[in-house]
């Protein structure tokens, strides 16, 4: 089911982008420390999505969870209705209402790439990020903006750009723009560790 797969892929990008960080001058200045603890990280967020097909914006809130031990990423929606997306290894599982689907990322190599880059990010692998995106960093250390534009055509089909705002090594929001005039703005409501 491609629609859902694409949806999952885009959600994956959103998750990935929440964990990306940037700095005022160079990407390396905003990347988090390469060594993470074994503790799961949870980050609450509010999200606003707009689309030409929507009369007004769609609002939701939930939590992003990262498990360093297994590398599993979860996007959990609490409002307006419970839903969950978990990415672990090379599978992606989505639960919403009575529907539950597990999708192999091996069938979607471009999505796999995003998770590879996420791992690169978490381990401070700047090289991989530079390979996948053209990166622009602006602002100061206390208020920076990182703009990521996919260098590969296949990735650009999923997302046209990511604008990440933050201070120090913390992200405050991510705005993702897709084709067809869709945008989503994710604002983190509690400080990240």
């Amino acid at each position: 089911m491609k629609a859902l797969r694409r949806m999952l892929a885009l959600s994956a990008i959103a998750i990935w982008s929440t964990l990306a960080t940037a700095s005022d001058l160079a990407l390396s200045d905003v990347l988090p420390d390469s060594v993470l603890g074994q503790e799961a990280q949870e980050i609450a967020f509010d999200e606003t999505q707009s689309s030409p097909a929507l009369a007004v914006d769609l609002r939701s809130s939930g939590t992003l969870i990262y498990q360093p031990a297994t590398g599993a990423l979860t996007k959990r929606i609490d409002n307006p209705a419970p839903a969950e997306l978990v990415v672990e290894g090379d599978t992606m599982r989505m639960v919403s209402g009575e529907r539950s689907r597990t999708i192999s990322l091996r069938k979607r190599p471009e999505v796999q790439v995003f998770f590879d880059s996420l791992r690169a990010l978490l381990t401070g692998d700047e090289e991989t990020l530079q390979r996948l995106f053209s990166v622009e960093v602006s602002g100061t250390r206390s208020s920076w903006t990182v703009q990521l534009t996919p260098s590969h055509e296949r990735l650009r089909r999923l997302v046209s750009s990511l604008v990440i705002l933050g201070n120090e090594r913390k992200i405050s929001s991510i705005k993702t723009s897709h084709g067809k005039g869709e945008t989503r703005l994710m604002i983190f409501t509690e400080p990240q560790s």
Binding site: A55, S96, E182
Partner: protein, 741 residues
């Protein structure tokens, strides 16, 4: 005078060529194997014949490569093509593409939907979560038209989308491309295969494998054409060499082809006027059976070595006509084998034989040089030894009845190499493609009756699956549900105002007030009064082929539905279907039964023709000679069959055709060798028969060395048979100098 003859000959050839071209223009070549099968004797066999070439999964092209990422790119490229109904079981990339067509418009007739307040609440709650994960514009629009996603669920059910990649044990990743056109439409299959190959080259797949019925057909057409052309050219060259060695004159070598040319031209003309269409196999086998006609001019040439051709023609006339008439009787027996394809084959061969004999006797002599000198030689006769022939005949027939086995497996007729078939089978197991062995056929006098009965059967099968008695099944009920079910669904749809009211409440409850549900409301209202879905609703739509896998008109007010069963079938399944008109169809046993029936019928016809041939021989010659000729012919055929059965384990249809040709040849040899005459004519007959046997042996040995099963089996059958027939006839005959006739 001589010039006049050549003008006449040239005019004759010209007329024949024109007639041939005209009839080939009229003839339509068909490749449906059903034309070669006899009328069905059971309902199993009827389903088999009616669905031949359209069995589930037969239009699958399975593409394999170890490069998974490249295969994904290939999948994307192919999904844009109009040649495939689906690629890799995926729902089309573009969701909007799904939002059109019969099945989408009728989604509330084809699926159950909970229209109550709580049902709509549940649906919107699930959508709210999904949209929060990601609100893709396509998805938003889809939800606006179908909040319970019943249309999407329907697609998933019909196309059984896999969530894990298909990969074989040896690490070959698979891609499934289902072609729009059936497997036997080789031109379309060629296009589809070409497209796959082109994309693969561009993407850089270097270990591409394409499997499937259509791919085999395309590949075979190429190999068979190349191989058959190559072998025919080599065989013809060898034939020319043998003929030149025998007669030492190029003119004779060229003229030897004339009767065969006339025979095939006449065959085409008759087929064109009688049938209008010709099966591909008719031509292949038909030309094989015409192989006997190459012998006719050789008899004339050998007998013209020492006398004028006209005289030689008169010398051999009765013998040749007797031989030709007997062979014609046998071939006409094939024509009455019961299948239109066999009718064509028999008619083509019989016409050809008669025309070739007449050409050799009445036209060829005019084209040969007059010999001034008439050979002088003493009257002579031959003695026929019965002992050897009878011993061989009795031993061979006994051994044949005791040991020979018939191969009833239709698939051995397939010229596809066994290895390729096994690979295809392995691929299909990975894909979980439908078993092509068991079906349940339901037959009714109307579509509605059949569909209702199918629903009854599906209920029982579902129960069986739940209890673990059956792996699974697929019916066409998702595409065409029973009328009563569709009416019930129509009635469950609430009024517009009530639907609006419930939707508004559910949207508010789930934070989806931003959503536009107008398309959903409009379709729901329209569904209440829309015409119900029937098989004809799908005509000329992309789903037509899929519907045809499950439903078809069997003619005479018969409407048939097929339910495909997966895996092994419980023995008491028929019992489970008691009280319904449903019947389990085992395609394998049906096809085996069909082949056995077919062979029995063919053998009976041949038996009948043997009696006729015996009568012909007794009338046309002495009883003694007639019996000897018949015994020698039968002994040769039996020994050939025995040898082939020993060589290949079991006899198949190709062998049977080969044995038939051998019958014609052996009869011809025996008749000529047993012909009384002068020492000169007897020597001429021996020369002729030796030339005939040598040329046939050389030509068919070359065909027998082919890797293609059809050519190999036919070639070896004839090469073995002709050597034996020649040896037996020669060994059991002895000249009697000055003896009585």
């Amino acid at each position: 005078m001589s010039q006049l003859r050549w003008v006449l000959a040239a005019s004759l050839l010209a007329i024949l060529s024109i007639l041939t071209v005209v009839s080939i223009g009229r003839i339509q070549f068909v490749y449906d194997l059903a034309a070669f099968l006899p009328p069905p004797s059971s309902s199993d066999q009827r389903v088999l014949i009616e669905r031949l070439g359209q069995t589930p999964g037969s239009n699958y092209l399975i593409v394999g490569s170890s490069n998974q990422a490249a295969l994904e790119r290939l999948s994307e490229a192919l999904s844009q093509s109009s040649l495939f109904t689906r690629v890799s079981s995926d729902v089309p990339d573009d969701l909007t593409a799904l939002q059109q067509g019969v099945a989408y418009d009728a989604r509330f007739l084809l699926n159950d939907m909970d229209w109550t307040q709580s049902g709509l609440d549940r649906a919107l709650a699930a959508r709210a979560g999904e949209l929060a994960l990601f609100a893709d514009t396509d998805l938003i629009r889809w939800v606006g038209a179908d909040p319970a996603l019943v249309g999407l669920a329907w697609w998933e059910q019909q196309f059984d989308a896999p969530d894990v990649p298909w990969v074989t044990e040896d690490g070959t990743f698979l891609l499934l491309a289902e072609t729009v056109h059936p497997a036997f439409d080789l031109a379309s299959q060629q296009q589809a295969v070409d497209q796959i190959v082109d994309h693969s080259l561009r993407i850089g797949i270097d270990d591409l494998e394409i499997s499937g019925v259509g791919a085999f057909g395309v590949q075979l057409r190429q190999t068979i054409e190349a191989e058959a052309t190559f072998r025919s050219v080599v065989a013809s060259m060898a034939l020319v060499a043998v003929l030149f060695f025998a007669y030492r004159r190029w003119k004779l070598v060229i003229l030897a082809a004339l009767p065969l040319l006339c025979a095939s031209a006449a065959g085409f003309v008759v087929l064109g006027f009688v049938y209008g269409e010709v099966h591909g196999i008719t031509l292949a086998f038909g030309f094989t059976l015409l192989g006997v006609t190459i012998d006719f001019p050789l008899h004339l040439f050998s007998h013209s070595r020492r006398q004028a051709a006209g005289l030689a023609s008169r010398t051999i006339r009765s013998t040749m006509l007797l031989g030709a008439a007997s062979t014609t009787v046998a071939y006409l027996a094939i024509a009455m084998g019961g299948a239109p394809g066999l009718g064509q084959l028999g008619l083509f061969a019989a016409t050809g034989i008669i025309v070739a004999a007449l050409t050799s006797l009445f036209i060829l002599p005019a084209l040969l040089d007059e010999k001034a000198e008439v050979a002088r030689s003493s009257a002579e006769s031959v003695s026929m030894r019965f002992g050897l022939v009878v011993v061989v005949l009795v031993v061979a027939v006994t051994a044949l009845f005791a040991s020979a086995q018939w191969n009833n497996d239709l698939s051995t007729l397939s010229p596809v190499p066994k290895q390729a078939l096994e690979r295809d089978q392995a691929f299909r197991e990975v894909l979980g493609a439908p078993s092509v062995r068991y079906l349940i056929a339901v037959e009714g006098h109307s579509e509605q009756v059949t569909v209702e009965e199918t629903a009854l059967v599906a209920d029982r099968l579902r129960e069986l699956v739940e209890h673990g008695g059956l792996a699974g099944f697929r019916s066409g009920l998702g595409l065409v549900p029973p009328i009563a079910e569709q009416r019930r669904r129509q009635q469950q749809i609430p009024t517009e105002s009530s639907l609006r009211h419930r939707l508004a409440a559910a949207a508010k409850e789930n934070g989806l007030t931003a959503m536009q549900f107008e398309p959903f409301i409009a379709q729901a209202v329209a569904t209440k009064s829309m015409p119900l879905v029937t098989v004809s609703s799908y005509v000329s739509t992309p789903l037509e082929g899929m519907v045809e896998q499950f439903f078809y008109h069997g003619g005479d007010d018969r409407f048939v539905s097929l339910t495909h069963l997966t895996g092994e079938v419980p023995a008491d399944l028929n019992h489970l279907l008691d009280g319904t008109s449903a019947q389990v169809v085992d395609l394998k046993s049906a096809s085996e039964g069909l082949v056995a029936d077919y062979r029995r019928q063919l053998l009976m016809m041949l038996g009948g023709s043997l009696v006729l041939i015996a009568v012909l021989l007794l009338v046309g010659t002495s009883a003694f000679r007639g019996i000897w000729v018949l015994s020698t012919t039968l002994a040769t055929m039996s020994v050939t069959a025995l040898a082939l059965s020993g060589l290949y384990g079991a006899l198949n249809l190709y062998h049977l055709i080969g044995v038939l040709l051998i019958g014609g040849l052996a009869l011809d040899y025996a008749l000529f060798l047993s012909r009384p005459g002068t020492s000169a004519t007897i020597a001429d007959s021996r020369h002729a028969v030796a030339a005939c046997a040598a040329s046939t042996f050389v030509a068919f040995s070359i065909l027998g060395l082919s890797e293609i099963p059809a050519l190999q089996h036919l070639g070896s059958a004839v090469a073995v048979g002709v050597s034996f027939g020649f040896a037996l006839a020669r060994l059991s005959i002895r000249p009697l100098v000055g003896g009585r006739r």
